[in-house]
């Protein structure tokens, strides 16, 4: 988009035209008692030079460790071309342009993204993305309440494998709107939902995460059919990489999940100390008018040529104001551009190779670590690329000892899911070599004491 400058005279002329004394007067309608001068815990502004130095120092603290942590964000190889292309001037914006006549390339990119995400999840329609996986769960809960109007209790049931951080974020956003999130009890052998599911009045929706946060594969068909039999909708929370191997949510149970959401970061977005990432959301066609966020549609112009435009905008806040499907209604344009390029470059077979290799590497790591006396698998059953291990000692000191050897050994589950005890969640993606895995197993053996090695 062209840069259009304006001088002080231009500004003055525009203010005079609308009868405003100065720029601050444009914000007069905000009540004075709502204005705050400073935010607690947010330091004063810094100069560019100072902030650059601070960020360099912080980034250096990360070092270059070998990372075996997953727990919601995953280290995958990102082909060099992804960000070379995504950072071209034509794409390098976080903003979705409204003007179809000036933005065909960006709009087509998002349209291609929507197509790819619907294919991965097996559902009909996708939006242009949301902020991240956690806030996508909140949006899905609000959407389910709007769609499933027959159920008025505001209850959203969460399968035991739902990421606890997602639950916190969703509760913070949806909890103020008379929506209550409740957990289904966990079977402590499998980490999945108990065989006996709750009875009584059905909830608005059941949210099912696959793979689960502690790495197991939930019986999604059973839960989906049970939820639908109770008149509840099904919200699927999925890892996009896993969908190259696992059944898409649109094919869960007899009717398929109604809404699928998840964290898009594994698709070409670097870990970056925690963000920015992006959330994705797809749903069945019949629910599209209650879906939040932008949607790009393909159309034809007056000359019969294919073109792309924002569509179904009457759901959105610039038209529906406070009654919009969401008032957090932007997308993560730049991250989605990278994800689209990533998916286009690796293709379906590439994504399946990434998923398969990640599974194999994790299996190799699990075999190595569980050969050590004092380490065993915590939960039974199949897994994708994350596994929970039970340690015979507290997890935090073990992770510290590994960190001293430049290894990020996994995610300590004991705070997030205390019911699991001294549990460590590990993940080895396709980025890890056999030597990396050997190095981790050797380091762990040292920490646990060579003499305690199980005799084969």
């Amino acid at each position: 988009m062209p840069f259009i400058p304006h001088t002080d005279d231009d500004t003055r002329e525009m203010l005079d035209a609308i009868g405003a004394a100065d720029l601050d007067a444009l914000f007069d309608e905000i009540p004075k008692d709502l204005l705050i001068e400073s935010l607690d815990g947010v330091p004063d502004a810094m100069s560019e030079m100072a902030i650059t130095r601070l960020m360099r120092e912080r980034a250096a603290q990360d070092g270059a460790p070998m990372c075996f942590i997953g727990a919601g964000a995953y280290e995958h190889h990102i082909p060099q071309a992804v960000w070379d292309i995504a950072t071209r001037g034509e794409y390098y914006s976080a903003y979705t342009p409204y003007q179809a006549e000036a933005s065909q390339g960006t709009l087509q990119t998002i349209y291609e993204y929507q197509t790819m995400i619907t294919e991965l999840t097996g559902l009909d329609v996708s939006n242009a993305s949301l902020y991240d996986g956690a806030s996508a769960l909140a949006e899905a809960a609000l959407m389910a309440v709007r769609c499933n109007r027959r159920v008025k209790n505001g209850r959203i049931l969460l399968a035991p494998g739902v990421n606890p951080v997602y639950e916190k974020v969703a509760s913070a956003i949806a909890g103020t709107q008379n929506i209550a999130l409740e957990r289904i009890d966990m079977d402590m052998q499998t980490g999945n939902a108990l065989a006996a599911l709750p009875e009584g009045e059905g909830p608005v929706a059941v949210a099912i995460q696959q793979p689960s946060f502690p790495g197991t594969l939930e019986d999604v068909d059973r839960l989906t059919d049970w939820a639908h039999a109770q008149g509840a909708m099904v919200i699927a929370i999925v890892n996009p990489t896993s969908l190259a191997l696992l059944k898409g949510p649109g094919h869960w149970g007899a009717e398929g999940a109604d809404i699928a959401i998840g964290e898009g970061q594994p698709l070409g977005v670097p870990l970056s100390s925690g963000g920015p990432y992006f959330g994705f959301m797809t749903c069945k066609q019949k629910h599209v008018r209650q879906m939040p966020g932008r949607i790009i549609g393909r159309t034809t112009d007056l000359d019969g040529e294919i073109g792309f435009a924002l569509t179904l905008q009457a759901r959105e806040q610039h038209i529906r104001r406070s009654k919009a499907t969401s008032n957090i209604c932007t997308n993560q344009g730049l991250m989605v551009t990278a994800a689209t390029i990533y998916m286009a470059l690796v293709g379906f077979h590439g994504l399946r190779s990434v998923a398969t290799r990640s599974h194999q590497n994790t299996a190799t790591l699990v075999d190595g670590l569980t050969a050590i006396d004092g380490i065993e698998r915590l939960l039974t059953g199949p897994y994708f690329h994350e596994v929970a291990l039970r340690l015979d000692r507290p997890v935090a000191p073990v992770l510290d000892a590994l960190a001293e050897r430049n290894i990020l050994g996994g995610f300590d589950l004991s705070a997030a899911m205390p019911e699991l005890g001294d549990a460590l969640l590990i993940c080895a993606t396709e980025t890890k070599t056999g030597a990396d895995i050997d190095a981790y197993v050797s380091a762990m053996s040292e920490i646990f004491g060579a003499q305690s090695r199980k005799s084969a």
Partner: protein
């Protein structure tokens, strides 16, 4: 000039009411409203049996350029909804006072007509809005 059937009552939100023989009240949007909205593409209907209260939103009509709430002019219970609008929302454009009815409500008691207008009063409102 817009078409205003004489047997209907009107609201300032550009809705119309018709007392049916079965005791229900049919509710729709006026010719002026459908014209202002433009071609309708979607109608969100309430559930039959749902309670509605005067002034509360009851349905949504969406055109290519706007979405607008339809408010209930009376207290009562939804007796019927015009399911045909789900497939053919543009019926509201072509026949706003007939086949384009949206909801039938069973009134919860006597209808408070103080906020409702006869055709001539509604016409005056339209004239004021245009002025």
């Amino acid at each position: 000039m817009t078409d205003l059937p004489g047997d209907l009552l009107y609201t300032k939100d550009h809705e119309w009411l018709r007392r049916e023989d079965d005791g229900t009240v049919s509710i729709g949007v006026t010719d002026h409203a459908q014209s202002a909205l433009g071609d309708l593409v979607y109608v969100e209907l309430p559930e039959v049996g749902q309670d509605v209260e005067s002034g509360g939103d009851m349905a949504v009509v969406e055109s290519v350029k706007a979405a607008s709430d339809v408010y209930s002019p009376i207290d009562g219970t939804v007796a019927a909804v015009n399911e045909a609008l789900s497939d053919d929302p543009e019926t509201i454009n072509s026949d706003p006072y007939g086949e384009g009815w949206i909801v039938k409500v069973t009134p919860g008691g006597d209808i408070d007509e103080s906020d409702l207008m006869a055709p001539d009063a509604y016409q005056s409102l339209l004239d004021e809005e245009e002025a």
